[in-house]
Each structure stands twice: as structure tokens, then as C-alpha cells.
Amino acid sequence: MSADAVQTGLGTAGSDAAACAPETASSIEPLIEHQSLEADIACAGFGPAMGGFLTTLSRAWTENPADPAFESRVAPGMPLQVLCYERADDIGAGVSGVVTRAEGIRASFPKLNPDEIPMAAEVRRERVLYLLDPVGASRRSSLLRCGDALLRGAGRLVGLKDHALELPWTPAFLHKQGGLVMSIGQFNQWVGAQLMGAGLVQIWPGTPVSAPIFAEPPVMTVNGGKRRCGVRGLRLADQGVDRFGAPAEGFMAGMDVHARLTVVGDGPVGAVGQALDEKLGLPLGHARREWGLGMKMVIELPPDSSNPHQLDQNTLAADGVPKGGGKDERLLPGTVWHTFGYPEPEIFGFLYVHPNRLVSVGIFVPSWMGNPARTAYRYLQHYIQHPALWKHLKDGTLRSWGAKSLDESGRRGEPFLVGDGFARIGEGSGSTNMLTGSGVDEAWTTGTQLGEAVLELLRAGRPFTEENLAATYEARRRASRVERGSRQAEHARDGFHHGFVRGLMGMALAGLSGGKLSLDAHIPPAAEQIRPLPPQMKGLKLKKAVTAAMEDGRPLHDALMSARGWPEIPFDGRLLVTHQDALLMGGKVQAMAGFADHVVFHNRGLCIGCEVKTCAAMCSGQAITVGTDGMPAFEREKCVHCGACLWNCAQSADGVHGNIEFRAGSGGLHSAEN
């Protein structure tokens, strides 16, 4: 890593790297006294990466509790004090159904039996479907429309069925054979239960971390003439405050947790990771400009035996392949569908089949889609109604629902992985591979790599300095398949910034050439990827949509989609439900009292003057609504902490930072089936 070359997607931090004063992000409150406690290792966020890190550490301790390396420095005579703080009210409140090759996970659990993890199944069959637009509202280019017309003309001759074309093979880079279909919520619970049962690690849910505690100047590292701040712990979020963060009844200043090593795994929109990026900047040439919102439903299929698409293990041959051969559309556990082309060309979709008639169905709405009215929930409802999916899902019941921001910059968004007293793992460390569409196993692997590095340093009695962490953790990572994969994927999706067809070509080039070939593109900051409303929308259609919105009491972006020709959703109260009902039916939102609003709009004038208000359109929980004065309002009680508002703000006061800040907050979606 070029440690001295600092530039940032956030802008100014690089020049600040030399000016490291002891502070936290909340050092604007110098008069408030923060209690402190001492730990050996403090961790922010509990997801797959932290699961990998803590599992590696915990397992080594279990194998040899007498190992002197595990003796705590802050509690003599006790084992290492390892504290992990998680914002969500439960460690199983993750939001993602995933399919993963699970190479890293299986390496940690060689005897892994998917039956032990609720909702987990071995991947058995994969399909890739190109979905045509059956309703005529999709924003397709002329080229794509021509292609669609040709396909329709050829019809069944080319295998077109239910407005969908199944690719004859699944490209190798997309394959997940040998992997697992999982619920991240259940996987996290499973991992967490084992960790806490072992006794070394304490995982504290419902405890958001507001910021890292930066080291005092004397501990700073010298790197090629530039100094990079170290970290000496975590500051927890204040409690007993009003929505603006001012002390109120029962005020309790966030505690400072001092530690020799701070492990940052709070994801792509986590407060600690953001503060580090702001302070340290990103390595030269790196920037976080590509994002996506993943939104999905967990649907229970009906137990109707007359439905040919239900689970029926008796129709499988001994090798697990369906009897009779041919194209098999049944939704057997472990079935994976990848889709593209609908509801908009830019929106990729998926369907994963879990045991017990549960399926995860969802879409990814990328930042490069550009359309400011890119409301994911409405698109998801149209997606599941596509004929190729709907024939399986139409009698199902919504069991759960959720959303999450994905850092799709991959390696290009990789921050400084280590510094004095800290290391970064998981998605927030740029580990997601956007070519293979894989992030969980990569995140887990980065956690295990750090775990192995920490064990090496503990046993050698070496401190957690930047140099030592670079020589152990970062070196492991650079030599691993995570690094190789991320390099192959680095430019794989650039072509999408020049259109859907070029994007597919670029992805195929990168995938088939192992990343050697790709279509390059200039990628603007996420805010600049939001296109202004097209002129026709500003005229008659916009007026019509606004009128409809006012009459129906529904959001502008929803009305805009209707104005563009998307059919109204035929609500059935079971699977097709309003956005607000989804908040209650599938995935329940928790917002513990006494915490401040974690979504903050900085410049009121900018918000009021914003034409597109994509923050409201992309808000997964409808927690951001626009008032009559044009000012967005935030309701913490509806926020699922997806973080989409962070990268869906088209306004900036300084040309660098968006006008919306996404801070540390408590609660979020609380559903075990995600």
C-alpha cells in the first residue's frame, strides 16, 4: 500500500492526515465527561467479517486457554478482554439473504452442516435469466428494445418463456456451486451463539459506536514523511439525548472503550469507518463512488402439492439432479436464480430457495442507474410480479423484508486497512467482489485473516502497530484470493456508466479474461450520478404525477413511476402490501428511545431547493418524507439503517460531502428471517 499517498473520495481528509490531534468525532462536546473502560480488543459491528475474526480468535483460545498470549493486559489473571459492540438490537438482525461460495466459511468450519443453520442449504442449481419487460414501462434503450423485439419474434425457438430467456450456461465467474444459500440473520445468530458460548468474546447488541478515539500525537506513525493517525479505542453513542443529540432526561455520555487494538467492521455506512475515512482519507486513486441498494423479501411459498413448483425431494435423482433432465424451474432448496433486464435494465435480481418453502427474492438498485425516482420497494413489487417469478410466488406470503446499502466500489473503495492500533475488515474495507457478486465470504475471510494476524502478534509479543499489522494482516490479505478476486473485479462494471449493453459487455470481458480486459469509464461521485429530472418530467407528466401524489397522499417518486407507465400494485394484503405495511409485516423496526436522530440534513436551503429528492425516493423504510415546504423530514422509528440516504443526496455545500450525514444510531430492522 502506498501509505503516504493520500487522496480521498470524501475530499479534504488527505491534507489533514498530517494534522492529527487527539479527538473523536464528537470532540465538539469538550465539556461532557465520558466514562471509560479498558479492554484488550474493541470491535465495532458484528457481521460476517467480525464473525470470522472473533471465531478465529475464540477457537485458538478454546484450544489452549493456558496460552500466555491470551492473558489480558487490562485485567491481569483474566483472558483477553474482547468486546464487540453492535448497533442492532440483536446479533441476528442482519439484513440479507445470500448465496455464497462459502470457501472461507467452510475453511473455518470444515465440518459445516448446513442443517445446523436455519434457512441454510447447499447450492444445487443455478439459472441466469434475462427478463424482458412485460408491462412496457421499463426505461430501455433503442438497442435493447430491438434486441427484445428479436427475442420475442424468435419466441420459443430460442427458449423464450414467461417473458424470460434462460442463458444456456451460467458464466463461471457467477457460479456458486458448492456454496450455500443462507440467511445472514440466522448465520450471524449461529456464529454469535457459538462465540458467546465459548466465553472469550462479549458481543453487546443495542450499543452503537459513534466514533473511533484517535491516538494522542506521540503515538502517531511516520510513513514517508506523512503521519497517519492511530486509534486507541471506540466511543459509544450518547444515550438520554433528544433527537438533536442534546442531553435530556437520563443523559448518559457515550462511554470510551480504550483498547490496544480496535477492529473496525461496521460496514460501508458505519460511523467508525466513515470517521476513519474522513480523518485519514483514502489511498491515492481510491474513492467510494459506486453503491447499490439491495432490497429483498423473504416469501413463504404455499404448501400446495398441486403446485408443480413446490419442494419435492422425491422427484430428485440420487445425485440431486431433477429426474427427467431438461430445464427445471422448480424451487428446490438450494436453487439460485440470477436475473437481469427487469424491472429496469440496470436492476439485477435474485431468487434463492431456502429449506421449508422459504425463498429470498430481491433486487439491487445501483447508483449508476441515475434515475432520481429509483424507489426500490416499488421496483421490487414489479419484479416479483414478472411472469417468470410470479407463477411461483403469487400464492406466497411475505414473511420478512429488508434492505441494505452495498459498497460496490470494491477494491477501488478500499481504505487504509491498518494503522497504529486499528485494522479494518469486511465490506467497509473494500472486500466485496462486484464481478462475482459476492461479499459475505470475502468479508468473513478478511476477518479470519486479521484473526490469524492478531494471534501471530500476540504470540510474538509484538504490539499492534501499523507496521506489524501491515506485515501480518495486510500481507495475508494481499496474498489471498480476496485480493486476486478484487483486482479482477476492479473495472468489471465500469461499462455500466455508458449504458446497460456496454456494461454487460464489460462485465463479460472482465469475467472471461480474469480481469485483464474491461471497458473503462470515468466514474463520477455518487451524487453526480443522480440525473436531473428529464424535461418532459418537469412539464406535463411531472405536474400530473404531483397532482396524483397530492390526491392519493402518496410519495412523489411513487407517483412519478405511475406517471411513467408502471401499473398500480394490486395489493392483496399478503404478499403485495404497501410499503408501510411491509414495515410491520416483514421485518420490524426498532428505535430505542434516548438516542439522537442518526440521519441529519445539514443545509436546509439545499434540501428545500433540491429538485430530485432522491433521498426520499430511495429511503427503504419511508423514514424520509418531504414536507409541504420541501424540506425532508426523518423518522427514526421507521429507519431500517440501510444507509441509502448517505449516497442518494444530490446536494453538497462544499462540493465534497453530501448534505446528508448518516451517524451512529441504535436499532434498525429486527427480523430473524433476513
Binding site: D90, Q202, D581
Partner: protein, 270 residues
């Protein structure tokens, strides 16, 4: 004047009430679908009792709070990571089945036996706390039965407040019909108090309290006594959830009177 109290709080764990629950029948009787994988919380009524207990103990130096909880060990551990940050207590876990369907008599017998075995517990200073209802055990009799087995005759249910006096007598407010409270004075300990919501807000998560509790919680969980509750004495004929109806409409310019009238008609039709 200090009167150290020994407060035992009986608190089970229940599926987070915000989850979608679905009853199912299994080989061992009724249960909830996927109950072991649903997020669990401390029974909300009993949680009020715990917070009141901690508050009371803080006012009486030298007091001690035990939390007696029956449930699967792994699930108890998960819930304790949240509860332990809110109040100081010593956990007395019993590794048993989850769910609200076991016979309340069997449950009470196990809990009473567990309480009797607590080392250092002075029954002359005992306040037995719990919820007057349960989010899973709707019969609301478990706490009373525990009190009876332990021979505690002074029992109060639907408690919202207790004021201890210097001589260990106390005043207690119980909920009674009509939205009223009944005020009683009890001459002394021991006593059983089944709490309603009490008057305290949910305490903030305090990491130091959590760390302090965890020093005893993890060892206690590792030594949790496994029990099997007898299911012979109880047979369920049918199990169902209360019927829910969701009818969302967007209606503008409707007067409050019209809304009230429609609601009354709807309730009448039900």
C-alpha cells in the same frame, strides 16, 4: 436506615413480540413455528419487575438482586447480552425448554426449587418479583404458584409501585378494575409482587454494568441446571393466535366523529 433486601426476579424469555408468530403442533405438543430461531427478549412484564428490583435495591444498600430465568441456555445467553447492560443482578439460569406451553405448575415447581437452592438467600428479607402476566404464559399464575410452593402468603398482582418503610413493611399499589389502583400496606417480608408496568422507564444500556454482570453470568450459564418439564398434566385441545385484521385505507377530510362512528360499527361487527 438501611434494610438490605433479597430480591428474586423470575423472568422468562419470549419471542420478540414484534415478530410474526405462528402456532404449530409437534410431537411434544403445541409450539411456535421456528421459535428457537426467532429473536427473543426478556418477557416485557418481568423486565419491568427487574428494573423495579434494581431501582429498589439501589435505594437499600446491601441489597441483592437475583434473576431466575428458565429457557434454553444458548437463548438465555443471547438475551442476557442486552439485559445485562440495563441493571445489576446475579443470574440463576435453568436450562429448560422455550415457549409458553409447558404446564405452569411444572414450571413453578422447577423455579421454586431453584430459588430455594440459591446460596445465601435470606427468606426473611425476600421479595419475589415477576410479571403479573406473561407475553407467552397468558395464564398469569406461575408467580403465584411459586409463592405458594415457597410458603409466601402475602401476594400482590398488577403492581405499579412499592414503597418500603424503615421497618420492612411496605405500601404497594395494585391495579384493580376500572383503571384504579388499590393501595395496601403489608406488615413485612417475604412477599410476592407480580408487576404490571411499574413507573420506571427502560434503563439505558450501560456497558460497565454489562461488563460487571458478565463476570458472573457466563460462569452461571455454563453451570446451568438442565431440567425437563413434565407435560403429562396438561393437554391442549387447540391453539390459535388472536385473529388479526389489517385494513389500510387512505381517507382524507374525514371528521373525527365519522372516524369514531366507523370504528364503533367495525367493532360491533366483530
Amino acid at each position: 436506615m438501611s434494610n438490605p433486601l433479597h430480591i428474586v426476579v423470575c423472568a422468562g424469555i419470549v419471542p420478540d413480540p414484534l415478530q410474526t408468530l405462528e402456532p404449530v403442533s409437534g410431537p411434544h405438543g403445541p409450539g411456535l413455528k421456528n421459535e428457537m430461531v426467532l429473536p427473543a427478549v426478556l418477557d416485557p412484564w418481568a423486565a419491568s419487575a427487574l428494573y423495579e428490583a434494581a431501582h429498589l435495591a439501589a435505594k437499600h444498600p446491601g441489597s441483592k438482586v437475583w434473576l431466575v430465568a428458565l429457557g434454553p441456555k444458548a437463548k438465555l445467553q443471547q438475551v442476557m447480552m442486552t439485559v445485562a447492560q440495563k441493571a445489576g443482578f446475579e443470574l440463576v439460569p435453568v436450562d429448560g425448554p422455550i415457549g409458553g406451553f409447558p404446564d405452569a405448575h411444572s414450571t413453578a415447581a422447577v423455579l421454586a426449587e431453584t430459588i430455594s437452592a440459591i446460596a445465601g438467600l435470606d427468606k426473611t428479607r425476600l421479595l419475589l418479583f415477576g410479571g403479573w402476566e406473561s407475553a407467552s404464559r397468558g395464564a398469569g399464575i406461575t408467580l403465584q404458584l411459586i409463592g405458594e410452593i415457597l410458603g409466601i402468603t402475602d401476594q400482590f398482582q398488577g403492581v405499579d409501585r412499592i414503597d418500603m418503610r424503615a421497618d420492612c413493611s411496605f405500601e404497594v399499589l395494585e391495579r384493580v378494575e376500572g383503571g384504579m389502583h388499590q393501595e395496601s400496606v403489608c406488615a413485612g417480608l417475604p412477599a410476592v409482587l407480580g408487576w404490571a408496568t411499574g413507573t420506571l422507564a427502560e434503563p439505558r444500556n450501560n456497558p460497565q454494568t454489562g461488563m460487571s454482570n458478565m463476570r458472573t453470568i457466563l460462569p452461571a450459564l455454563q453451570k446451568a441446571r438442565p431440567v425437563a418439564l413434565s407435560g403429562d398434566s396438561l393437554r391442549y385441545v387447540a391453539v390459535s393466535l388472536p385473529r388479526q385484521q389489517r385494513a389500510t385505507r387512505v381517507v382524507k377530510d374525514m371528521s373525527p366523529d365519522e372516524i369514531a362512528r366507523e370504528l364503533v360499527e367495525w367493532m360491533g361487527a366483530e
